[in-house]
């Protein structure tokens, strides 16, 4: 026993079988096969997203998500967005993270509808996503939220976005936000903190 010689036959581990049709393989019982199938299906985002709702294995889910990110198409973004409205916390956060890593032009055009969603939590997730996308329009959108959004938590998500961007030109909008919520200590603190951090740069 001890260290075996390199190149010794490995009785226990078998090489993976050759791939077949990825669409079929995506539904088999073998997680490794499903994972390889997902990697082969980057050009079929609608198939990947459909599987995502049913996929129990974390490794396969991750392969589906990275394939969607690599594909990066507007279609891939479109099929991930419904997860923001879903109840599954882990899938929702995974979808948001994947969208953040996709080309901003594939994602941003879809977000205006969600910024007006009736559920304030969906609006929060959307604002967080806007804040993370390197897109020329993101600051304008964050400022628009601070000026018009009625729900305080959505506004605070926009402030967080502005702080992370560190843009001085957003500071007046922060003050107007504070004026809209004059009795809220959390808004007061957050706007002051934003001033300190952004004003520093």
């Amino acid at each position: 026993m001890g260290l075996i010689k390199a190149g010794s036959k490995d009785k226990g581990a078998e090489a993976p079988p050759p791939a077949g049709d990825p669409l079929e393989a995506l539904e088999t019982g073998d997680a490794s096969a499903r994972r390889r199938a997902a990697q082969a299906l980057a050009a079929r985002p609608e198939v990947l997203c459909a599987r995502l709702t049913r996929e129990p294995d974390p490794g396969v889910r991750e392969a589906i998500l990275t394939a969607l990110v690599r594909g990066g198409s507007p279609e891939a973004a479109a099929c991930l967005l419904p997860f923001l409205e879903g109840e599954d916390v882990s899938l929702r956060n995974a979808a948001i993270e994947a969208l953040q890593q996709m080309p901003p032009d594939s994602v941003m055009p879809h977000l205006d509808t969600l910024l007006a969603h009736e559920d304030s939590d969906v609006r929060i997730f959307t604002v967080q996503l806007v804040a993370k996308l390197p897109h020329p329009e993101r600051l304008d959108r964050l400022v628009a939220v601070m000026e018009r959004e009625p729900h305080v938590n959505v506004c605070l998500a926009a402030v967080e976005g502005v702080v992370e961007l560190g843009r001085l030109e957003a500071l007046p909008a922060l003050d107007r936000l504070k004026a809209r919520f004059p009795d809220d200590p959390v808004v007061a603190f957050t706007v002051e903190a934003a001033h300190r951090r952004v004003g520093q740069d």
Partner: protein, 131 residues
Amino acid sequence: MGDAARRVLVVDDAVTVRAYVRQVLEADGFAVEEAVNGIEGLERALGSPPDLLVVDVNMPKMDGYAMLRAVRREETLRDVPALMVSTEAKESDRLKALAAGANWYLVKPARPQALALAARLLTGRPVEATP
């Protein structure tokens, strides 16, 4: 326990939220550390178990529910009190938090008095009567 400051680990992906909780709890005599998501929170807690966890729900890489479930499986962290904080206000969200292992649940934005009161209660510090 003596007079040593209770240590709080704040786990939230938003820098403004972490700063806010830090300000409130430091003003109330707690020592505060931060983590940006559930995995980092778990790493820090495992490295040095805190006296209190303040945990957000929605975070990348590992959400607050998953973090608390993992915390409750660890012998060194099983009994650390945990305050869960979230924007979501439905009764089902509160129940989910308790099922994951939270001792208390606050809806954001958490007012300073509520935050400090919850932290004191959960760490066994005396609570002054509020007017």
